[in-house]
Point group: C2
Chain length 359, copies 2
C-alpha cells in the first residue's frame, strides 16, 4: 500500500506526498512568497518534417545547477524553504515551476493560424517526481519497498494526468547524470502530459495496431516470445518482467524492461506485477551502474499506451539507455542522429546484453 | 571551376583532391603500411518503433581526439604521414578509415533473418571532407572562392555516391565543436551514403509528395513564399538563397538555407547558384559564430532528394543548428527528445531570427 496526501504550494501548484507507511505528518505549509507561474508555451507543427515542437520561450531563466544547500527538491529544513514544505518525505510529486507544458497555456497563447503556420497552446502538465528525500543517493540504491512506492506514484499520476483535458500522452521518465544535462542532482524523475501523442510513440502505436489488424495478436508479445527463444539479447527474466537489449538497439547500452503479460499502462499492473517490477527495475539499473567505474548516466522512459487511442494493441514496457559508450567516452547525437534521425551504434546488442548480464 | 584529381591510399581507399586552380601537384603517394579496413556493419530494423539502426561494432577503437601533431587530416609533412599524402591541398575528400557504412559490408555480413529479426549488411559509403589544409581555421573563415570549391566537391561526391549500388540517400553534413562530440578539430565535414532513406528525410519526402499530389505544387516553395511574406523569421535573402528560422524550430538557434528555385540536389545547382550559395552559407555560419563570445558549436546538414525516389517533389535546403542555448549552457537531448522524439525549444523562432539578423 502507498499512502497519498495532497498539498497546495504557495503559488497554487499541486504537491502530492506518497508514503510507504500511513500516518506521516506532511501538513507543513509552504511559507514562501512565490509569484504565480506564467506559462506561454506553444506547440508548432512543421509541415515538412511532420512533427510538433514545443516552444517554451519562458523557460530560459529556470534554475540551473543550484548549489547543494539550495536544492529545491530536498525537504524544507532549518528555515530553508524548498519545493517540499514537509521536513521529510518518502516520495513527492509536484508541478514543475518552470513547465514546458501547462493547463493554463490554453488561455495564455492563442492558436496563431492554419497551414503553414499551424500552432496551438502548449496545453499539458509537467510534474517532478522526487524519488527520495535523500539528496545523495540514486534510484538504483532505493529499497525494493521504496521503489515500489515510486512505481505506485507513477501509476497514480498516469491515471490523474490521463483525465486532464487535452492530455493525449503521459510520459514518465528519468534523466540521470550531468552528462545528459541534468541540472538538479537530487534523485528525481519527471512526468510530461503531452497535448499530442509523441512521434516515437505514435509510430509504435500505429505499428502495433497494424500488426494486430493483420495477425489478431500483439506485436510486442510476439517480439518478446521470439527474443526469449533467441536468448542472446535477454538480460534477465522474472515472473512478470523480462529485461532485454532490443535487436536494433540505437544506444551503446540500451535495455527494455517488458511486461510478460499483455498490459497497456502502469495503472493496470496488479499488486504482484508492481512488486516484481520494483525488484526487476532496481536489478536493471544496478546492472547499468556496474558497467563502468563511475555511476552510469542514463535516460529511462516508460512506454505506456496513449490516453485515448491504441490501448488494445499497446504493450507496456520501459527503456533504459546510456549515452556512455566506454569509460570517459560519450555517444553524441551528431549529424546522422540529429540531422537525419539515423542512429549509429558502435556496440552490438549481443555484446551489450552479455555485459549487462555480467557474462 | 574546380579541379579534381583522384588518388588511391595505401589500403585501397579513394582520395579526391578538389583544387581552386589547375596544375597543383598532388601526386605524392601514401607511404604508410596500412592494414586493410575491415567493415562489418549491419543495419537492423526495429519493428516496434519502425526504424533502421546501424550497428557498427568494429568502430569502438577508432581515433579519438589525437594530439594536434598527429592530426590525420593535415597534409603529410616532415615525414609525418597522414590521410593526405600531398604536402598541401585545397579541399580533400577520402573514404573514412573507420566507416559506419561501406560497400564491402555487403560481403562481410549476411542478412540474418526475417521478421522480427530483419537485418542487412551496412552497405554504403562514409567519406570525410577536409575543407582546408589549415588546421586552425573553420568553414566560416574560408574565402568565398574556397567555400565554392567545397560546395563543388559536395555536389560531385553526391553525384558519384548516388551511382553506387545500394546507396539510397546521400547526406552531406558537418559536426563542429567538441560540445557535439567532434573528435578531430581540423575543419571537416562528412558524407554518408545510406542504404535506406533516413527516417527524417523519408517523412519530408512523403509530406512533399502528398502535397504535390493534392496541390500540384511544391510544399517547400509554398512554405518559402509564406515565410518571406511573414518576414519575422527571415534572416537574410540573396538572389538565389533564403536563410530563415523555421516556424517550428526544434533547436535554440536553427536556420534553414533554402534554394529560391525549385531544385532537388546540390548537383543540379547552376554556376551562379553555387557562387551565391558560397557567400550565403558563409554569411549564415558567421551569424552563428557571432551569437556568443566563443565559436558556436553547430551541426549543418543538407536536405537533398533521395537517390531513387521523390526527386520531383523535393526542394533543396540546408539546415544549421546549435545545441548551445546560452553562453555556457547547452541544450541536451534528454527524456523528451531522446525517449519520445518531442523537442522542447526554450527560444522562440522569432527571437532566434532577430538575434541571427543582428537586430
Amino acid at each position: 500500500m502507498t499512502y497519498r496526501q495532497h498539498h497546495t504550494l504557495a503559488d497554487g501548484r499541486d504537491l502530492f506526498y506518497y508514503d510507504l507507511d500511513p500516518g506521516s505528518d506532511r501538513s507543513a505549509t509552504d511559507q514562501r512568497e512565490l509569484p504565480e507561474t506564467a506559462t506561454s508555451s506553444q506547440i508548432r507543427w512543421d509541415p515538412l518534417f511532420q512533427e510538433w515542437a514545443v516552444i517554451a520561450g519562458h523557460r530560459q531563466s529556470r534554475t540551473y545547477k543550484p548549489p547543494v544547500d539550495l536544492c529545491p527538491l530536498c525537504p524544507s529544513r532549518d528555515g530553508k524553504a524548498t519545493e517540499i514544505p514537509a521536513p521529510d518525505y518518502d516520495v513527492a510529486v509536484f508541478e514543475n515551476r518552470f513547465p514546458s507544458l501547462a493547463t493554463e497555456a490554453a488561455e495564455a497563447v492563442p492558436t496563431v493560424g492554419a497551414f503553414p503556420f499551424r500552432s496551438g497552446p502548449g496545453t499539458g502538465r509537467c510534474e517532478v517526481v522526487c524519488f527520495t528525500s535523500d539528496h545523495d543517493t540514486s534510484f538504483a540504491q532505493l529499497s525494493p519497498r521504496h521503489a515500489r512506492t515510486v512505481i505506485d506514484a507513477l501509476a497514480d499520476r498516469t491515471t490523474e494526468l490521463s483525465r486532464l483535458p487535452g492530455v493525449e500522452y503521459v510520459f514518465c521518465f528519468e534523466n540521470r547524470g550531468e552528462e545528459i544535462g541534468v541540472t538538479l542532482s537530487h534523485p528525481h524523475g519527471q512526468i510530461y502530459g503531452y497535448p499530442f501523442v509523441p512521434p516515437r510513440m505514435l509510430r509504435a502505436a500505429e505499428a502495433a495496431a497494424a500488426y494486430r489488424d493483420e495477425h489478431s495478436a500483439c506485436l510486442r508479445c510476439e517480439l518478446l516470445r521470439q527474443e526469449v527463444e533467441a536468448g542472446d539479447r535477454v538480460i534477465s527474466r522474472s515472473e512478470h518482467w523480462t529485461a532485454l537489449v532490443p535487436f536494433a538497439a540505437r544506444w551503446p547500452y540500451e535495455a527494455r524492461l517488458i511486461a510478460n503479460r499483455h498490459v497497456a499502462s502502469l495503472a493496470e499492473l496488479t499488486d504482484d506485477e508492481r512488486t516484481d517490477l520494483a525488484g526487476s527495475y532496481l536489478d536493471l539499473l544496478r546492472r547499468f551502474d556496474r558497467l563502468f567505474d563511475t555511476p552510469t548516466p542514463y535516460i529511462a522512459g516508460w512506454h505506456q499506451a496513449p490516453v485515448r487511442q491504441y490501448a488494445d494493441s499497446w504493450h507496456l514496457g520501459c527503456e533504459v539507455f546510456t549515452i556512455r559508450r566506454a569509460a570517459g567516452k560519450l555517444k553524441y547525437l551528431a549529424g546522422s542522429e540529429s540531422g537525419a534521425a539515423v542512429w549509429i551504434n558502435d556496440i552490438t546488442p549481443e555484446n551489450a546484453a552479455a555485459r549487462l548480464r555480467g557474462d
